[in-house]
Amino acid sequence: MSDQSVLYDVPGPRAVRRQRIGTVLALLFIAGLVGIAVQRLASRGQFDAELWEPWINPGSDDFAQVWELVGKGALATGIAAALAITLSLLVGVLLGVTRMMSGRLGRIPVIVFIELFRGLPVVITIVFVWRAMVELGIPVDVLPGEDALWYLVIGLTLYNSVIVAEILRAGVASLPSGQGEAGRAVGMTEGQVMRSILLPQAFRTMLPALISQLVVVLKDTSLAAVIGLGYLELLRRGNQISQVLDNPIQSLFVVGLLFIVINYALSRLAIHLERRLSTSSYSSPEPGTAAITLDAQSRGGGPG
């Protein structure tokens, strides 16, 4: 049902009138919501220049510093997300291939691993990784960068590699069975079939889902600010600024908007790629919606 006009007629004169009334009512409703919010913000002085100026007025004393901090935070978020998604890809492919290539018994540990980390809240995984590594004395100092970065990255990787493994499995499963059969028919081993026939095709279909997963990872880096990990990513920087300037609403608004803009752009990119890469005869149910983002979420049961 890609075209909603199927649900109702091209409106006649009466229906048009009804729709107009409906539109007016809807606009009133939306205006009402916005009005209440604006009125509340205004009555509490939340539009005061001193709360916004550090963010929007380049002439303000704090403007340069505030945006420099945001830049540092965005960089830290980007580094953590990039490392996590790259490692997730590596580990996830390894997990996925192991699962697909092993026998019934050999598969079990991989499946347990996957179900375990898929079922755990990612925030618990991160805290666990952090505390357990400290308690067991597993050194992360050998890795470049701060310790906290790696606790975050390893926690995110455990969770997301499992999702990648599932995305890969779905990608391979979606290929026509003739692909593998043809490979075997010409005498390829299972490993060769996987390596030269199935994986390259599955990777094509995986790319959009991976980008959607990157959105999830980007959002999850901000968990560091909730568990007191001491990694100064974007949200923590926003909190730092609001603690000094005492403007939480304004700071969270700007940081939230940054996340939304970046993630929205990534989602659009994923949709665009999905349409371009789609080689199969069918297209996604409704082009132009973020169907795959949802799809990645269903597959992973991801925190979104």
């Binding site: 909730v226 909190n239 600024i241 000094v244 300037l245």
Partner: protein
């Protein structure tokens, strides 16, 4: 190495000059230009390197709060600067690392920091893992309640009001101290930062916030009469400076430095935590023996 030391001392002088020119002379912490430490000591190493790493709080107003210039400000930070200065290390050569309550012992043991100045209460359990210089400040635990709460006038009243919730911060000494006054474990609510406790008190989710007096005073002065402190300080919380376990020479050096710089110490208080209404200027406590 001699050159780099000279270089950094010169840089410190230039900076001191430029700040003085701005009229901010009293913000200065003295930086020794000539230092002479016995070879092999921590002081000699740090002085030679011309830099050091200090762990402090990044979210504790008055003691260690990360400013917009990305450098922490507060009493702990100033104390650290006095000690660094005595080794010829200027404040811009100090690298600041966040040391939350949960990880202070860990960063010292791992050698990630040279010292921790972070509202760090000296106690026996911690002494097993780190050595404490100081104390440099005697805080005391108190209770903060809503203005209209008349049923609590000291910690003994908590058990008589078993429905009341007490808020403190995970991993902090106050959260452990208060436990003996509770009627049951459910009375204790823990958050990761005190801001949430203050919020929770203001929306009635908890009835009492407990931690060190100075932190509470900050909330009371911000609350416009919504909160009040009740009772006396019922604990003594000597704040110490955490360093690597067994580094007695460094510990003694820190103690001597503080004793010799009492004036700078008091000035540091006045321009940081001392700005909060209702605080009293501290007396520099007698240092404990270094072990």
């Amino acid at each position: 190495m001699r050159f780099s030391k000279l270089g950094s001392a010169a840089a410190a002088l230039v900076l001191a000059g430029s700040l003085a020119a701005c009229g901010g002379g009293d913000d200065e912490v003295e930086v020794a230009t000539e230092t002479d430490f016995e070879a092999g000591t921590t002081m000699a190493e740090l002085s030679e390197a011309g830099t050091m790493t200090v762990g402090t709080k990044f979210d504790q107003p008055g003691f260690g709060l990360l400013g917009l210039d990305d450098v922490p400000e507060g009493f702990d930070v100033e104390v650290a600067k006095i000690i660094a200065g005595a080794m010829g290390i200027a404040e811009e050569d100090i690298e600041w690392v966040e040391a939350t309550s949960d990880i202070r012992e860990q960063v010292i043991e791992d050698g990630d920091v040279d010292m921790v100045v972070a509202t760090y209460t000296i106690n026996d359990e911690r002494k097993e893992r780190v050595t404490f210089a100081g104390p440099y400040y005697e805080a005391g635990q108190m209770l903060m309640v809503a203005e209209d709460n008349d049923s609590i006038s000291g910690p003994e009243d908590i058990a008589d009001n078993p429905d009341m919730k007490v808020c403190s911060v995970t991993g902090s000494t106050p959260s452990e101290n208060i436990r003996e006054y509770l009627a049951n474990e459910d009375q204790l609510v823990l958050f990761d930062i005190y801001d949430k406790c203050a919020d929770a008190l203001s929306n009635g989710q908890v009835d009492i916030v407990t931690t060190d007096n100075v932190i509470l005073l900050g909330f009371v002065s911000e609350s416009d009469g919504e909160f009040k402190l009740v009772g006396e300080q019922f604990t003594e919380e000597p704040y110490g400076i955490g360093i690597e376990k067994g580094d007695v020479e460094f510990c003694e050096f820190i103690n001597e430095t503080l004793q010799e710089n009492e004036e700078a110490y008091l000035a540091a208080w006045e321009r940081t935590a001392g700005e909060v209404e209702g605080t009293e200027a501290p007396e520099l406590p007698e240092p404990d023996e270094c072990v």
